[in-house]
């Protein structure tokens, strides 16, 4: 990697998350990816070796690399999502490494919310188990488009093709039942010995696909693309309030730029736009960055945008193309995952709802169902959510929000709920559909 990382302009970014049960070799796999891409340094390895020795571990425990907190090392568990970084000549990677047991759902949902791909580990000796289905369900709920089914510990089943094929068939039968079908790439491997992790293994001549790293380096992910509808949430209004002359912008007296990040789609100079919350129409007159005026705004990048008319919008507002409005509603149905361990959610619970750059008060008007994530069955037996529960609720906000269904846009379709007393983030939400609100449109629009 040493020479080619010198050229950053050709390197893109892939964010992925890893999911597996306790002993299926997740830490070993990540350790190997980091080690083989030379992302582990000598002093880190030395420190881990010393700690392993002190703890009396039989071998160097690579989990100690990611378990950064004292409590984690003392108890030998991972408490929290750990973010790890590595790069190859082709790509830079950010791994959200989520623990396999305690508070599993909360951590996996957190890690998955920013991931383009999920690696789901399976122990080849055990095959598809309940945990596998749970992980796959969460990946699909969070709309991760790509899953790598890492059938690990193939060395312990003699690299038997029949074992592998059965696991893949079992998995695909299960995945068919999911609402949102991700693209699945199964790979037989042994993380411990490095089979099909970085290089193709000699032990699996019957396997014709790529190694894990080859796949990660080349997979095309479609998270936010230029082809989607343009969405730009206003974070902050830039008003220099000054008569300074800027070399590129001229006199700054009247400059009023809407600062934000392009969530999806593109804007070009002169585009007709709709500006929320006023829903006034205008035209884009400037797309600015520090480097100067731009012709267009592209997904994921940050800009300051000026429009032709004096329009009343500020933080919490949104700019979209005139012919691509969002939905607007005060009331909608959403899937949520509940994160609080000391409090529950039930009908009439009140929260601050944070959505894009908006913050509005919201009340739970109904609990429609909860999902048993072991069987994927919907139940209506209880209307109360406790830690790690997932289900569908109906919310009413104090004022309308501008959104898309989560299935269409992960940025404008997601929100979090914040507890009014503790200010903690207590739930992650994904909007399914709006209820009757803005006249004849938006009537029960399913995704």
């Amino acid at each position: 990697m040493t020479t080619t990382t010198l050229n950053p302009t050709e390197s893109s970014l892939l964010r992925f998350t890893t999911a597996g049960s306790v002993d299926d070799g997740k830490s070993t796999l990540i350790g190997r990816l980091l080690y083989d891409s030379k992302s582990i340094f000598e002093d880190q390895l030395l420190a881990v070796e010393e700690s392993s020795k002190r703890r009396g571990d039989a071998h160097v425990n690579l989990a100690l690399l990611t378990d950064g907190l004292r409590a984690e090392r003392e108890q030998g568990i991972t408490i929290d999502v750990a973010y790890r970084y590595f790069a190859t000549p082709k790509r830079k990677f950010i791994i959200a490494d989520t623990p396999g047991h305690i508070q599993y759902t909360r951590n996996m949902v957190t890690g998955a919310s920013t991931a383009d791909l999920a690696i789901i580990l399976i122990d080849a000796r055990l095959g598809v188990i309940e945990q596998t289905m749970r992980h796959t369900y969460l990946a699909s709920l969070l709309r991760i488009g790509h899953i790598v089914l890492a059938v690990n510990k193939m060395d312990l089943v003699d690299f038997d093709e029949a074992v592998y094929n059965k696991i893949v068939a079992d998995f695909q039968a299960f995945a068919k039942g999911l609402d949102q079908l991700p693209q699945v790439t199964p790979i037989p491997m042994s993380a411990l010995n490095g089979d099909n992790v970085v290089d193709k293994s000699e032990h699996t001549p019957w396997y014709t696909g790529p190694s894990l790293l080859q796949h990660l380096e080349t997979v095309q992910v479609h998270s936010e693309t230029a082809a989607d509808e343009a969405r730009f949430a206003v974070q902050w209004v830039i008003r220099p309030i000054s008569d300074r002359e800027d070399a590129k912008l001229g006199n700054l007296h009247d400059y009023r730029g809407f600062a934000g990040r392009m969530a999806s789609g593109t804007f070009r100079l002169g585009d007709d736009v709709l500006v929320y919350p006023s829903e006034m129409k205008s035209k884009i007159t400037g797309i600015h960055t520090f480097e100067g005026p731009q012709q267009e705004a592209i997904p994921q990048l940050s800009y300051s945008i000026t429009v032709a008319d004096e329009i009343d919008t500020s933080r919490g507002g949104m700019i979209v193309k005139a012919n691509e409005p969002t939905q607007t509603s005060q009331e909608f149905d959403a899937m949520i995952c509940w994160f609080a361990d000391k409090k529950t959610l039930k009908p009439r619970s009140r929260f601050h709802l944070r959505h894009t750059t908006n913050d509005v008060r919201a009340v739970v008007t109904d609990v429609l169902y909860k999902v048993n994530i072991s069987t994927l069955e919907k139940t209506t037996a209880s209307k109360e959510f406790s830690l790690n529960d997932i289900g569908c609720i109906r919310l009413r906000c104090a004022s309308p929000i501008f959104f898309d269904p989560y299935g269409k846009n992960r940025t404008t379709g997601s929100f979090v709920l914040v507890d009014e007393q503790t200010n903690n983030t207590v739930a992650a939400g994904m909007i399914i559909k709006s209820l009757v609100d803005a006249g004849e449109e938006d009537t029960e629009v399913a995704i």
Binding site: T5, L6, S12, I79, Y85, Q235, R354, F415
Partner: protein, 302 residues
């Protein structure tokens, strides 16, 4: 497939966080040490609010144990980007009896900075401090949030952090509490250097190869030219002129040098790519114990 590079992504993400910080808090400040990470962060802040000036001051917690080059650079940089500077002096905390100076040859004011920082935050009523910390730096930092909540005593509770999903950041707090915000969380040392090269950002001369009087103390190459680090009598004859550079720049007492002839950004990038030691391997402050960083962070360190 999006066509942007990883540096474009990281830049945009950091700008997004900087704008969120300005919007969600009443009175933020940007912690500026004169080190490369805080320089990159301030550089990004200038971009985030252009053509306005920065909507928050730079805050330097000054141990008094500075490399003169770092202070010279700091004053130049503040002018260059049109920012305002607030300085919190550790010496003042010592004079006021708020902290007691460590004694001995390895004495450092690194730990004392925390008290000065928290006092400065309280005095100025800052409710969010932007820091240049990165998750790849140190294992306790790998668990850090972008928006990191601190209680009214400035403490960090790593086991009870707010989950951060998508790009929604929750800066709600009670009176007296504050936040640390880390816009460079997802950057690695290599990303920082590649970005400095791409943007042509001027750096303090300490980062480039130069001749300096050095004392080798237990494998750590420490500065012997400023006179800040006290030397044992038997160390004095061992001071020698070496060709070195600093991989990180902090307080003189805890910043170790590396032997290097890298005198351009390209040469540094090549050196970083080939490095087999982490950059904090030269930092005495992290070596005090396995939990050194976590313990300092819980107390309110950067």
């Amino acid at each position: 497939m999006s066509a942007i590079t990883h540096l474009q992504f990281l830049e945009s993400e950091a700008i997004y966080i900087l704008r969120e910080t300005a919007a969600q808090f009443q009175k933020p400040a940007l912690l500026f040490s004169g080190g490369k990470d805080s320089i990159v962060m301030a550089w990004l802040a200038r971009k985030a609010f252009h053509p306005s000036r920065l909507p928050f001051p730079l805050l330097h917690v000054d141990t008094g144990h500075n490399f003169p080059e770092a202070i010279e650079y700091r004053d130049w940089f503040v002018q260059e980007i049109g920012a305002t500077l607030t300085v919190g002096l550790v010496q003042k905390s010592i004079d006021d009896g708020r902290v007691q100076e460590e004694k001995g040859y390895n004495a450092s004011r690194n730990k004392l900075q925390t008290v000065t920082l928290l006092d400065t935050i309280e005095e100025n009523k800052y409710d969010a401090c932007l820091g240049g910390g990165r998750r790849d730096e140190e294992k306790a930092r790998a668990k850090e949030r972008f928006f990191s909540h601190r209680d009214e005593f400035g403490q960090w509770d790593p086991k009870n952090q707010r989950p951060e999903l998508w790009n929604i950041f929750n800066g709600r707090k009670h009176f007296g509490e504050h936040f640390r915000v880390f816009p460079l969380s997802n950057w690695t040392e290599m990303d920082i250097w590649q970005y400095i090269r791409q943007e042509n950002i001027p750096l303090p001369s300490l980062y480039f190869s130069h001749q300096r009087k050095i004392i080798d103390r237990n494998g750590q190459l420490l500065d012997a030219s400023t006179g800040i680090i006290p030397l044992h009598d038997d160390e004095k004859p061992k001071v020698k002129e070496m060709t070195i550079r600093f991989r990180t720049v902090g307080d003189v007492t805890c910043t170790g040098a590396v032997e290097s002839t890298a005198s351009t950004i390209d040469e540094i990038v090549a050196e970083v790519a080939a490095a087999r030691q982490t950059e904090r391997g030269t930092r005495a402050d992290d070596k005090r114990s396995e939990n050194a960083m976590e313990d300092r962070k819980k107390e309110g360190y950067f």
